[in-house]
Symmetry: C2
Subunit: 195 residues, 2 copies
Amino acid sequence: MTRNEIQDVRMRKYFIDAAKELIKGEGVVVVSTRNVAERSGYSYATIYNYFKDVRDLIFACIEDFQQECIDYIDEQTKGIKNSRKKIISITNAYIKFFCMYPGIFELFFLEKPKVISTRKSSIESIYTFFDEILEDNLVSFTNDMKLNPKEVEIISQTFKLAVHGELLFFMNRRNNETLESIIKRIDDIFNFLIK
Amino acid sequence: MTRNEIQDVRMRKYFIDAAKELIKGEGVVVVSTRNVAERSGYSYATIYNYFKDVRDLIFACIEDFQQECIDYIDEQTKGIKNSRKKIISITNAYIKFFCMYPGIFELFFLEKPKVISTRKSSIESIYTFFDEILEDNLVSFTNDMKLNPKEVEIISQTFKLAVHGELLFFMNRRNNETLESIIKRIDDIFNFLIK
DNA sequence: TTAGTTATATTAGCATTGTTAATAATATTA
DNA sequence: TAATATTATTAACAATGCTAATATAACTAA
């Protein structure tokens, strides 16, 4: 990494950090070049030297937020050994994370990726993110339960889709439920699927 | 309905129809007061005499689109008698409808309802829309299958959430799948759930 | 070290949008 | 028909994305 590239990364980080604060606070809608510039102490036009456009900056926050989500889940579930309990707890923490930061849910699942060329890989990684989080525990759980691979496949897909369907409805207040009630339903669904 | 109210409804319809065209064509993002006004032959400021703000107009399109969706599903599934096949076909048509009009999916499921006071009921109706579409067939199907109510409840909830999770991922191109592949998976999930 | 060059940052400007206030046009009513 | 109420339009403001022109800083070669 040359000296220039180091500077580049540093500058990008200033803007990304400012954008992340805004997303966590008031959501994607308040991420404007002017707002980000003000928070990072630069002029708004400077952003265009480091990002293709404002959406490129917004999508650049995804990787950081994924790591934050992983860290939160680890912290919430670190003591749990039993793989079944672990799967439930990880899922609950995953849901809670997005409830804490609706702006991150918005960025991950509701924002349309207009920037097709750039940031493609991080957008695609959202689709497999939940699978990766559960992966190890799902393997050991299905070994314990002696489920056949075909069943495991359909169960894990159904579970993943149901979790995100639930999040979709809950986050946009399409239903009038509480966090507790949707977590309970997700638990019930998991238990139903593996019974 | 007084003379004024008739005029009111007529005027609102002009703007709603224009907004609907835009949503079906290029999506919610192009629904601006200026665009709608141009298409309906009025000035943009006139819209504010009939709608609280531009989002109020956008959400006013929901009811019409729900009817269009019902009509499309009816037309696609009218010959089918067998309740199991009917449930599958209705669901497939439901998914196809949103694939034909991604802008309507956007409006139904991705738009944040900032307008809390107005349009509340139509926003909430989105949550129960899929249940209502399936309702009759689900009842006769579960009667045929002699499933107990508790099971029916969890199965239909899981199915509904999975369908919308699938739509969420597919519509925003988070995965690289085809319409056929996601419809096949939904069929598989239904068969798994009721086996 | 300093003049020329490159890289980076800022200001100014344009177009689009949501929204409101002032004004114009139309319809209604006494 | 004149006064009033309703409805539509124009003008204006602020916020935003983005670009071009300009200013500033950093670097390089004599």
